[in-house]
Amino acid sequence: MPSTLRKALTIARFTLLEAVRTRLLGVVLILLALLFLASLFVQHISVTETTRMQTGFLAATARMAVVFVLSLHVAGSMVREFNDKGVDLLLSLALPRGGYYIGRFLGFTGIAIAIAVLTTLALVALAPGQGLVLWGLSLALELTLVAALALFCVITFAQIMSAISFVIAFYLLARSISAVRLLSVSPLLAPNDWTNRAIARLVDALAWLLPDLDRFTSTAWLVDHTGSLASLGLNALQTLIYGGLLVVAGLFDLYRKDL
């Protein structure tokens, strides 16, 4: 094994250890327990399709919550390391910046997978079966993208506030871009008007630059069993491409930083 890769794996291991020591997984478990209790309330007040309502609520809120927690963890961990001059120390060793970045990314990916497993387990009692497995795998892919995004943002902005604001805005836009595209081509808006056509093209261009998170981790996979291996495969391909793009962008910024 090349020495840079070995060093990157060591950094990834310490990234995982940091998550354990900062009780990140404990926080996720408490959060999931609270959301499960809230979903019991939803089930209690529903008059029909009670399990479907509970499953939908828990899946949607848990997904949003873990995305937020993971981004905060990535941003907090990186900013702390910058402030403690841990990065300076590491880079003063025989470790290329790329090795450090890849190591951190692999570590955060490991954390994303662990969080996805915990979240999937929280839903086992409500929606067991193939749909849940596909949903869980898709969540792991989505969280991997979020980890790559948060890492890129914190390298670029070097502050928790701006990094997290960007991650949230980006995530919400990526999840809603399909709906925005649908709205932008409505013939009710006079499709022959050049401004409407220009806006529709602009929205299309924006959509091409974003990962289509709308196709990831759909609640319908759990409650209506509409997920398939083909959909998951496309999600995996999107994660590979966009994750790669974010890693390359983050590496570009890290190499240009004057540490």
Binding site: G98, L183, V185, W208, L237, L245, Y255, R256
Partner: protein
């Protein structure tokens, strides 16, 4: 934070970055365009749940919901046809949006001008009935949609009694200063169309006597109409000989 020169970035990264960006754009372009599906229009939750979801800003939330609902409205080839939609669900969503934003006119415009245009009489009636019920909650603001529904009932559904019911509601409830006379006078002409000349004449005479109509041109037109009604009434009565 100060930055190092571009040359400090490894060439591999500089080379891979545009390639991977091109791959992303190609991948996105190759994906099928998003499409609304009729079955994805689920029944709405209760207004209480929607209020909670609006985070204290029901008007903005209602506007967003309206635009979302509109995404199911597009034409064949682009999205789905109105006709394929479950109108029970559409009606429920429009009602919820109106409950969240009672002053908003958009849902009633959609009901009367878009959803009611489908070639399915049952669905047309469902939408016109929604417009009628919602008109009664705020007649002086929502009269234009019921006026349109009256015309639809007369010319599309060929249901004069239904059109008359709507026109009577307009005359009775839409009494605000902003409501034009033509809207409240619709019932007179419907009575005429139904051959009930006497009722039409009485209503028109009452309107002229009330002094509500002040415009000389409008007065002249209505007096001429009254005379025509009197003639029609005489000619429609059977001869005593």
């Amino acid at each position: 934070m100060p930055q190092r020169r571009l040359a400090s970035v490894p060439r591999l990264i500089l080379g891979v970055a545009p390639i991977i960006l091109a791959v992303q754009v190609t991948f996105a372009v190759l994906q099928p365009r998003p499409q609304a599906r009729a079955e994805e229009l689920t029944p709405p939750p209760s207004v209480g749940v929607l209020r909670a979801l609006s985070l204290g800003d029901p008007i903005a939330f209602a506007q967003l919901l309206t635009l979302w609902l509109q995404a199911f409205d597009n034409q064949p080839g682009i999205s789905i046809r109105f006709l394929d939609l479950d109108y029970g669900k559409v009606e429920a969503w429009l009602q919820r949006i109106l409950e969240l934003d009672p002053r908003g006119q958009y849902p009633l415009l959609m009901a009367s001008q878009l959803y009611a245009e489908v070639p399915d009489e049952r669905k047309q009636r469902l939408m016109l009935d929604l417009v009628y019920r919602e008109f009664l909650r705020d007649p002086n603001r929502r009269w234009p949609w019921l006026a349109h529904a009256t015309i639809m009932a007369k010319h599309r559904l060929n249901d004069l009694p239904l059109a008359l019911r709507y026109a009577q509601a307009l005359a009775t409830h839409a009494t605000g200063a902003g409501v034009p006379h033509w809207a409240t006078q619709m019932q007179i002409f419907l009575y005429e169309d139904m051959g009930e000349y006497e009722t039409a004449r009485i209503l028109l005479g009452g309107l002229l006597d009330s002094g509500v109509v002040q415009d000389p041109h409008e007065l002249h037109l209505l007096i001429e109409r009254l005379n025509q009604l009197k003639d029609a009434e005489k000619s429609s009565k059977p001869s005593k000989n």
